[in-house]
Symmetry: C2
Subunit: 343 residues, 2 copies
DNA sequence: CAATAAACCTCAAAAAACATCATCTTATTT
DNA sequence: AAATAAGATGATGTTTTTTGAGGTTTATTG
């Protein structure tokens, strides 16, 4: 009968024991153990301690559950109808749900588009409170100033898609936009098969560095490789479908020998609508952002290629930048989609 | 009897003792010791600890069962001069060093190319020993048989780049090759700007499903959209630069109106060499695998586009498949590189 | 060979995971 | 202060996973 073992066989504790010990219900223990949301930090600790005392958790589990409040990250996106941005917002929400309590808490705010003032204010508003802010930069002294201030409070910053220019300490996650512009130019040039004529640029706003860099790249390669094409001056469509629609109609009327359009910004839907209505499938059209509307446009032949930066990768990299200081600023990969390789 | 517990006698402890000490049943001990599934990690640790304390396990057994985290993964690649495969091997090594003791141990073996026999043997050789095998599949009954056998031993399998066809239980990590072929066809058709003439296919071997699927996709879109182009029968270059070089020279001589070439397989270097030597920059050429030689070829204008599947992503996804059973088989993204968006 | 430990299987019970709703707190607004 | 909203917690039901209790077969050992 002697203690057959040194250790009197210990009954394994169960969640119910932990619950009793912590003075909470089973549901709460479950929430803590499975990292579900909706538990006050204080209660969480009580449960964890009870579990510890009962030896309910293994080392690794304890370490996994014990620590770390997830980071507080704010993402500032331009408001407006730009479908890519809406998609980005959605992916953000999806990511938040996905990682659950694991990952950082991502909050997304939509800022008045193209307004440096509004962006600067939003930056300041979130300083200190958030651990990190990811934002679409507008190149403007007001924004730069605000960014510097915020960085000083310890809140980390990362610009996404469009950057601030040379501001040290603010890494950037986005494409190599000059190369992107050149690639667009190359493709339009090659797809036009030597035809002479005009190519048009449409942009959201030159205040976005991303846009002006793409424009610069596009212009440089046109000049370099395709002298038979002349570039018709850029129009700012403010990433608005209706505005882009009007621009395109005007363009089609004014420029009889239009060969191609490159939409540097978002909301390509307005452009395809104009092209479709005018039956101008012959016009080569390249735009940005893989969304429902651009997919359809490519499939029906109104659009020739979509340039995209994968939203999930973008977010992941942005979060990584905010987490670690070893922020590698290698540009994102440009995804190019034609009608046949849509995902 | 006394001796039994006073002095830890050298009597062999039994599973029952381990079970008692861990506070679980014999069935659970059995599950842990024989690596059966359906044991909670926490319980597993308990059992292992109890076993350790009782000296039930030998060093090797303990190592095998214990934190068996660093999985043993074998990657089987075709031997040969194919630069993409060499790059893949390099990335693999890099990954191994990178993850250090954390990640799985990746071992890479080069198998005689295009030999179903050799591949089958290699699979069998690594069965049981390795936890998982990632392999370039060759579609052949011998291979399928070997794969099924290996899967039965508990060693998990994943095909990379080229798959085995519909074999349940063997997930695949690779491109949607039909779509890839169609995209290549689309690009060549569009870049040729309506010229009439011939387009040629070069492949490694039809025994690779990836190659034949790309071929099928290419043929289907040519027929569908570009009647002015005729497809010149496929040649198998066995992913060998020298062979591809000879093929291309012959091609250039025999087919005066050659408009484009699509190299379904690897080792595009031979083709660009032939094109360069013959001064045939006018021939549109698309090939696979972003490597030193294809980069150069694109930059000097001998090649028009490179289709690539990112080696790092490929490896990561393959390892993920071998780790978890929740292997999502979503195809990889096709990366398309032109002269302007090379990374 | 007999005795025994281990391997391997199935099935039912127990525990845990997961989802939902009601209730109660707490903070915020009016 | 009352009203409201948002957050926490508990109660409870459903589903899935884990575990235990058997039995049968296969190796091992004395």
């Amino acid at each position: 009968m002697v203690s057959a073992d040194q250790h009197p066989t210990r009954e394994r504790p169960q969640q119910a024991d932990v619950a009793a010990r912590a003075g909470v219900s089973l549901a709460t223990v479950d929430r803590v153990l499975n990292r579900r949301k909706g538990v006050k930090e204080r209660t969480r600790q009580r449960v964890l301690e009870a579990a510890r005392e009962l030896g309910f958790l293994s080392e690794t589990e304890e370490a996994r559950l014990g620590n770390a409040r997830p980071l507080n990250i704010v993402v500032l996106l331009p408001a407006g109808s730009n479908p890519y941005l809406r998609l980005l917002g959605e992916r953000l929400r999806a990511r938040l749900e996905d990682t659950g309590a694991e990952g950082p808490v991502l909050r997304c705010f939509f800022i008045e588009s193209f307004s440096a003032q509004a962006l600067a204010e939003a930056l300041r508003r979130n300083a200190g409170w958030a651990d990190g802010i990811a934002f679409f930069a507008i190149e403007h002294p007001v924004v730069r100033e605000a960014a510097a201030e915020v960085a000083a409070t310890g809140t980390r910053l990362v610009s996404i898609v469009s950057d601030l220019g040379s501001v040290p300490g603010i890494p950037h996650v986005g494409l190599d936009n000059r190369a992107v512009g050149r690639t667009a130019g190359l493709l339009i040039g090659r797809l036009s098969g030597g035809r002479a004529g005009a190519v048009a640029l449409v942009a959201g706003s030159r205040h976005y560095r991303a846009h002006s860099e793409r424009e610069a790249g596009f212009l440089s390669i046109q000049e370099e490789l395709f002298p038979q094409l002349r570039v018709h001056g850029m129009r700012e469509g403010h990433d608005d479908a209706a505005e882009n629609y009007r621009h395109t109609l005007a363009l089609l009327e004014q420029v009889p020998d239009l060969v191609g359009i490159y939409n540097v910004g978002g909301s390509s839907g307005g452009i395809t609508r104009a092209l479709r209505e005018q039956g101008r499938q012959d016009v080569i059209f390249i735009g940005h952002g893989l969304t429902q509307d651009t997919r359809r446009a490519v499939l029906e032949g109104m659009m020739d290629a979509i340039f995209d930066q994968d939203p999930d990768t973008l977010l992941e990299r942005a979060v990584a930048c905010l987490n670690e200081s070893t922020a590698t600023a290698r540009p994102l990969k440009l995804d190019i989609y034609f009608s046949e390789n849509l995902p």
